[in-house]
C-alpha cells in the first residue's frame, strides 16, 4: 500500500513538472513573456523592473529556473486589473467554486445513484424509462442552456429562488461560505443543480449499467438464496459493487466540475474562479489566466491522486494486485 502510494505520488509530481515545462514553453518560448506577463499600461521603468524580476534578460534555462522558483513560492505574476498577485486572487475565489462544486457533487451522488439503481432494477417500467430519457437530455444539452431554463422557470416565472449572486455569507475558519446561511443556500441551489445536471446524468448511466450487471450475477442470486431481504440485497450487495465505478468516475469528474463551473458561474453570476477566468480573458488579464491554468492543473492532479487512493480502499481486489505489482 505504501509502495503504491509513493509510486503514485511520484507519478503525480512528474505530471506537475511536465505541466510546468509546458506552460513555461507556452508563455516564455513561444509567446512573448513581455506581452504576457507585463501590463500594457506599464511605463518604461516598471517594465524594466519587471524584466529584471522575471529575469527576461537572462538565458532561457535561467528564466525557467526563476519561473519555477517563483511558482513554488506562489508567485505567478500580478493581475493587471487588480494589481494584486494573481495566485492570491484566484485562491480568494476558490472557496466559492469549491463550495458550489461540492454541493453539486452531493446532488449528483444522492440523486444519480438511487435514480440509476431504480432504472437498473426496473429497466422497462415507466419510471425507468423516464429516468433514462431525462439522463439523455442532461447529457446532450449544453450546460448554459439548462442553467438559463432553470432561471427562467424558478426565478423568472415561479419566483421561488434568486437567479444570480452568492447571497449572504458567513465566515468559516476565516473563509466566507454561503451554505451556512438560508439566503446563501437559496442562492446556491440553482447553480448547484445546474452544475450537477451533467454529472447526475453520468452517475445515472453508471449506476444503471452497474445495477443491471450486478443483478444478473450469481452472488445476488446466492444472496437471495440465503433469504436476505430485497432491501439488504439492493442496499448492500448491489450498491457496494456499483459504488466503485461511481466513486472513481465522480472523483475524476470533480476536477472537470471545477472547469465546468466556468459556465455555471457565468450564467448565475456566481463570484468564483470560473467567472474570474472569463472576466480575465475578456480583460486580457493574462497573469490571472496563466495562474488559473497552473492552479487548475494542480487541483486536477491532486484529485486524481486522492481518487486513486480511495479506489484502493474501496475495492479489495485492486488493493491486492497493486500491492503485489
Amino acid at each position: 500500500m505504501l509502495v503504491y502510494f509513493l509510486r503514485r505520488l511520484g507519478q503525480s509530481l512528474f505530471v506537475i513538472a511536465a505541466m510546468a515545462v509546458l506552460v513555461f514553453i507556452g508563455v516564455y518560448a513561444i509567446g512573448s513573456p513581455i506581452d504576457m506577463m507585463i501590463s500594457p499600461d506599464a511605463d518604461q521603468a516598471e517594465m524594466e523592473a519587471a524584466i529584471a524580476r522575471l529575469g527576461l534578460d537572462k538565458p532561457l534555462w535561467e528564466q525557467f529556473f526563476i519561473f519555477v522558483t517563483n511558482a513554488l513560492q506562489g508567485d505567478l505574476g500580478n493581475s493587471f486589473v487588480y494589481a494584486t498577485p494573481a495566485a492570491e486572487l484566484i485562491i480568494s475565489k476558490l472557496p466559492a467554486t469549491l463550495e458550489l462544486a461540492c454541493l453539486a457533487l452531493l446532488f449528483a451522488i444522492f440523486l444519480g445513484v438511487p435514480l440509476g439503481m431504480i432504472a437498473g432494477l426496473k429497466p422497462n417500467s415507466l419510471a425507468g424509462k423516464t429516468i433514462m430519457t431525462g439522463s439523455i437530455m442532461g447529457f446532450s444539452l449544453p450546460n448554459f442552456w439548462q442553467g438559463m431554463m432553470l432561471i427562467l422557470l424558478f426565478a423568472v416565472i415561479l419566483k421561488w429562488l434568486p437567479s444570480t449572486g452568492r447571497g449572504d455569507t458567513v465566515d468559516l475558519f476565516g473563509v466566507p461560505v454561503s451554505f451556512l446561511t438560508a439566503d446563501g443556500l437559496s442562492h446556491m441551489l440553482l447553480p448547484a443543480i445546474n452544475l450537477a445536471l451533467f454529472k447526475t446524468s453520468l452517475v445515472i448511466r453508471l449506476a444503471r449499467a452497474g445495477t443491471r450487471e450486478a443483478a444478473l450475477q450469481d452472488y445476488v442470486k446466492f444472496a437471495r438464496a440465503k433469504g436476505l431481504s430485497q432491501r439488504r440485497i439492493v442496499l448492500v450487495h448491489i450498491a457496494k459493487n456499483i459504488m466503485i465505478p461511481v466513486v472513481t468516475i465522480l472523483g475524476l469528474e470533480l476536477g472537470s466540475m471545477i472547469a465546468f463551473a466556468v459556465v455555471t458561474e457565468t450564467v448565475f453570476s456566481w463570484p468564483g474562479m470560473g467567472k474570474l477566468l472569463i472576466d480575465s480573458i475578456q480583460a486580457l488579464d493574462r497573469p490571472v489566466v496563466v495562474a488559473y491554468l497552473m492552479l487548475t492543473v494542480f487541483i486536477f492532479i491532486l484529485i486524481n491522486f486522492v481518487v486513486d487512493m480511495l479506489y484502493c480502499v474501496l475495492d479489495p481486489r485492486v488493493r491486492l494486485s497493486e500491492a503485489k505489482a
Binding site: 444472496a223 438464496a225 433469504g227 448492500v236 457496494k240
Partner: protein, 334 residues
C-alpha cells in the same frame, strides 16, 4: 409441523415451471414429481437445459421473469410453497432450505468480507447478536474443514481458491441447519481431488444432521457414489426415477442407458465411446410424443404418442413405451 418426522421433507407434485418468452412458451419444467426423505440424497441428473436447475430454483422460489410456476405443488414438510406469500418464502430460504451454486467464483460477493456474507445469513433468520452470529459462522467453517477460520472470516473472496470458496458457500448453506439443501452442480467447476473432498464433506454433514439433499448434476459418477435415489431429467420431464443401484445397473429408459454408455470407463479402453446421437432439442419446439424420439435407437411409430410415466415391477418409474429393463407393473407393455 406435525408430520415433521413422518412424511418426506420435500415432495414435488406435478410441478410445471414455464418461461413466457417473446419466441414462445418454454416448458423448462413440465410436470415432475419426486419425494426426498429426511437424510436422503436425491441425484437429479440431466444434460444442460434439461430443467434440473430450474427445478432447484422453483423449490427456492427464485424463478425470475419471464418464468413462473404455472401448476403443481411443492410440499415442504407438508406446506405447499407455491401458495406461500413471498415474505414467508424468503424466511424459508437460507434457513430451512438452502442452496449451493455451481460456480464458486461467482457466488460470493467480491466486495464484501466473508464474515459479512456469512453473518448476514444468520442475522436474516435468527434473533442473535452479531458476536453470536460470528461464532456460528466460525463453527460452520471449521465443520467444512477450513483451517484458521478467524483469519478466513476477515478475508475477501478473491483471496481464496475455488475449492475454498465452495467450502465457504457450503458452510454458509449449513449455517442455519436447514432441512433441505439443493446443490446445483457444486463440484463441476472444481479439480477432481477437491471434488472428492467436497462430496465427502457434504455427504457427512447430511448424514449427521438428517438434512435432505438434492444434488443436481450431469455427472453420473458423482451420483453413483453419493445418492440414494436418482431422477433422470430430459426436456423438462423425469424420464426415469428409482434407486441408484437399480437405475445405474439396469437402466430402463434408453436415455439413461445412453448417459451411462457415454461415461468413459476402464473396461472400455480402446473402444469408441458411445455418444447419444443428435442434440438436446430446443424446448421451444419439442417434437410431439416422446421428446427423446429423434435421438432414440429404439424409437418407432408408437413413440409418436406421449409416453405415460409408469411404475415397473422393481419399484421404478419410467417414461417410455419400450423400457429396456424392468417389467412394467401389471405387464401391460406392448
Amino acid at each position: 409441523m406435525s408430520d415433521r418426522n413422518g412424511g418426506p421433507t420435500i415432495s414435488l407434485r406435478d410441478l410445471k415451471t414455464h418461461f413466457f418468452t417473446k419466441e414462445g412458451v418454454v416448458k423448462a419444467v413440465d410436470g415432475i414429481s419426486f419425494d426426498v426423505a429426511k437424510g436422503e440424497v436425491l441425484g437429479l441428473v440431466g444434460e444442460s437445459g434439461s430443467g434440473k436447475s430450474i427445478t432447484g430454483f422453483s423449490i427456492l422460489g427464485l424463478v425470475d421473469q419471464p418464468g413462473r410456476i404455472v401448476d403443481g405443488e411443492i410440499l415442504f414438510q407438508g406446506r405447499d410453497l407455491v401458495q406461500l406469500p413471498e415474505e414467508e418464502r424468503r424466511k424459508l430460504r437460507g434457513s430451512k432450505i438452502a442452496m449451493i451454486f455451481q460456480d464458486p467464483m461467482m457466488t460470493l460477493n467480491p466486495v464484501l468480507r466473508i464474515d459479512t456474507q456469512m453473518t448476514e445469513a444468520v442475522l436474516a433468520h435468527r434473533d442473535v447478536s452479531k458476536e453470536r452470529a460470528l461464532e456460528i459462522a466460525r463453527e460452520a467453517l471449521v465443520k467444512v474443514g477450513i483451517a484458521a477460520p478467524d483469519e478466513r472470516l476477515n478475508s475477501y473472496p478473491h483471496q481464496f481458491s475455488g475449492g475454498m470458496r465452495q467450502r465457504v458457500a457450503i458452510a454458509t448453506a449449513f449455517l442455519n441447519e436447514p432441512e433441505l439443501i439443493i446443490a446445483d452442480e457444486p463440484t463441476t467447476a472444481l479439480d477432481v481431488t477437491i471434488q472428492g473432498q467436497i462430496l465427502f464433506e457434504a455427504q457427512n454433514l447430511c448424514r449427521e444432521t438428517g438434512t435432505a439433499l438434492i444434488w443436481i448434476t450431469h455427472d453420473l459418477a458423482v451420483v453413483a457414489g453419493l445418492a440414494d435415489q436418482i431422477c433422470v431429467m430430459y426436456a423438462g420431464k423425469i424420464v426415469e426415477q428409482g434407486t441408484v443401484d437399480r437405475v445405474l445397473d439396469q437402466p430402463a429408459h434408453p436415455y439413461t442407458a445412453g448417459l451411462i454408455g457415454s461415461v468413459p470407463g476402464r473396461n472400455q479402453r480402446g473402444s469408441r465411446l458411445f455418444q447419444i446421437p443428435g442434440m438436446t432439442p430446443s424446448l421451444l419446439n419439442l417434437p410431439y410424443g416422446c421428446a427423446f424420439r429423434s435421438r432414440c435407437p429404439h424409437a418407432d411409430v408408437a413413440c409418436e404418442e406421449e409416453p405415460p410415466e409408469r411404475p415397473t415391477a422393481d419399484g421404478r418409474l419410467v417414461r417410455c413405451i419400450r423400457p429396456l429393463a424392468g417389467e412394467p407393473q401389471g405387464g401391460e407393455a406392448a
